[in-house]
């Protein structure tokens, strides 16, 4: 049934288009300024279209040692942390998905309780300190190893796998561990991917742990570097490196380039992975 396009439709689409612009504008503006040449940026003449296109700002940012170290550190934390978190969460969620697990209810209650109540910032800091994790790469990985939300998503998914499949595996002579690796995990690829992405994004953006647990600048993740350069204005290294060429790079273009370089991986992958996130959002809203 074809309906006429009414005034309602026009207004609705216009408002949504405007809304989409407010979502996109910041990125376009940042890209435009960071790609424009100095004279236009200083004259405040850039809005959404770059003028005097050049890549000097990006070249300066990418040759900055702190950015490179930050990138390297963040990648290490993301790979290490996501791997460990995914393994531990999968094993835990699989066990907790079994209806008759001994003390299963108690374990689940213990986990859910931590969503409601936590020791707070100071006791957590002192605990991590007592374990001698301060100023180690583990400080970025271990204190947030398992997220209750991700555990519950996985458990819900595992509970949805028909029992008959496991029974048939048993009849074929598979052990409990064999059922997990041969039957359950191959069926669970979508949820594994979703939870993996949630962990990766969480660790990628983790600023809190670095702020609390890291003092050694060699261990700083990218987020701390971005904050130091853009918000605290610690720019000395970059200005030196950009002065190597005779072209002048404006501070503003530099800072936007730093932000974009720090966001690029997520912006690039986002279109391909968004459907997995959405699945996770739906699963998370189902009762755990």
């Amino acid at each position: 049934m074809k309906q006429r396009t009414s005034l309602f439709d026009i207004v609705n689409v216009l408002i949504l288009a405007l809304f989409a612009c407010t979502m996109l504008f910041p990125f376009i503006h940042m890209a435009a300024v960071s790609l424009s040449s100095a004279e236009f940026v200083v004259g405040n003449r850039i809005s959404i279209w770059p003028k005097g296109i050049n890549f000097d700002a990006f070249a300066a940012v990418l040759s900055d040692k702190r950015i490179l170290t930050g990138y390297k550190n963040t990648l290490i934390y993301v790979v290490l942390g996501t791997t460990l978190s995914l393994i531990v969460t999968t094993m835990g969620a699989y066990s907790l998905s079994r209806r008759n697990l001994v003390f299963g209810k108690t374990f689940m209650l213990m986990i859910v309780f931590t969503i409601l109540f936590s020791g707070g910032m100071i006791p957590t800091y002192l605990t991590v300190r007592n374990y001698h994790l301060l100023d180690t790469i583990w400080a970025m990985v271990i204190p947030n190893l398992v997220t209750a939300f991700n555990l519950i998503i996985m458990r819900t998914f595992f509970q949805g796998i028909p029992r008959e499949l496991e029974e048939s595996g048993k009849i074929d002579g598979l052990s409990d561990a064999g059922i997990l690796t041969r039957i359950v995990l191959p069926l669970s690829k979508p949820v594994l991917l979703t939870v993996m992405l949630f962990y990766a994004v969480q660790i990628w953006g983790n600023f809190f742990s670095a702020l609390l647990y890291l003092r050694n600048a060699d261990l700083y993740p990218l987020q701390v570097i971005i904050r130091n350069i853009v918000m605290m204005g610690v720019i000395s290294d970059i200005t030196v490196s950009s002065a190597l060429g005779d072209k002048k790079v404006v501070l503003e273009s530099l800072k936007y380039a730093v932000i974009l370089v720090g966001t690029l991986p997520i912006l690039l992958f986002y279109p391909f992975i968004q459907k997995h996130f959405i699945k996770g959002a739906m699963m998370g809203s189902v009762k755990g």
Binding site: F8, D9, H29, G119, A177, G205, R227
Partner: protein, 302 residues
């Protein structure tokens, strides 16, 4: 046949082994800190540890409540949470309703994709963007204001602007992601209801009001209760990054205060006392809202 506890443990030994890392993590990093809160009743000394520090009872709790800072940071925390709920709660519902009325699937998908994106940006990146955009000398917002003849405003240095900046940036980041659940709920509404409404002569707005909204009522109610429960859970990172000494009158919240006074200045017992006070109120809020939610629907957090 019912197995004894020992028999069950033996039967489930593989699963208990698989679960062990998870539970060890929870005990070491979630439960140990909970007991660590006892330092709020002590004069905790980093070098003497819990065993060597003297008990002081409620000294630090009294200290907190007698401190004029307490009133300010509690007020700031509650108001920030309240404004976020007031403006941030309806936003995704409105977005979902509008998206639901879009006929072109391509356009709808485009708006959805674009609106989820900010949710995945790190808080540092969002705060950095705000910092740059609002800069009084180089930010585009002030350029725009000046070109319209208004004076430049140093937004991040003025206490009066902090709540607006915080709440709008939270909405910008979360409105799209928040709309997912409502869009899913809309698809469960029986199309015949729209048919019937049209027969009765209802226009588009009336259909939204009389069919879509009632169809969403349960989801809306549950989400509302959940968010009321989490009203005090305000992103420490974002507030910390966007606030500064000039705006503490409105921007200093309980968690940033604990970080600054408790952790940075080493007043661990005092900080832990505020942590516990916060934790208990937060717990009560989530618990009560979840009980209500469970009463009038099947859905709850646990």
């Amino acid at each position: 046949m019912k197995l004894s506890i020992l028999g069950q443990i033996k039967r489930d030994r593989i699963f208990l082994l698989l679960l062990a890392p998870t539970m060890i993590f929870y005990i070491m990093f979630r439960y140990v800190p909970m007991f660590g809160i006892t330092i709020s009743f002590m004069d905790y000394n980093l070098f003497k540890g819990i065993a060597g520090s003297p008990w002081v009872g409620l000294k630090y709790y009294r200290m907190f409540f007698e401190n004029p800072d307490a009133r300010i940071i509690i007020k700031n925390t509650v108001l920030l949470g309240f404004y976020k709920l007031l403006f941030g709660f309806p936003a995704p519902i409105v977005l979902a309703l509008m998206l639901n009325e879009v006929r072109s699937m391509l356009f709808k998908r485009f708006v959805q994709t674009v609106s989820y994106m900010p949710y995945f940006l790190s808080i540092v990146v969002v705060a950095s963007m705000i910092d740059m955009f609002l800069s009084p000398s180089t930010g585009w917002l002030n350029h725009a204001l000046q070109s319209m003849g208004f004076p430049a405003v140093n937004f991040l240095q003025e206490p009066g602007w902090f709540r607006t900046i915080f709440v709008s940036s939270e909405i910008w980041q979360q409105v799209g992601w928040g709309s997912i659940i409502y869009l899913a709920a809309v698809t469960t509404i029986d199309p015949q209801l729209y048919e019937a409404a049209r027969m009765d002569g209802a226009g588009r707005l009336k259909q939204i009001w009389h069919v879509t909204l009632p169809g969403l009522a349960t989801t809306v109610a549950i989400m509302f209760l959940m968010q009321v429960g989490q009203i005090l859970e305000i992103s420490f990172e974002k507030v910390f990054l966007l606030s500064n000494a000039a705006t503490y009158d409105t921007s200093d919240i309980i968690s940033t205060y604990v970080y600054r006074i408790g952790l940075l200045q080493g007043n661990f017992s005092y900080g832990a006392a505020i942590d516990l006070f916060m934790g208990v109120i937060g717990f009560a809020l989530v618990y009560v809202s979840n009980r209500i939610s469970r009463r009038f629907s099947e859905t709850s957090l646990w």
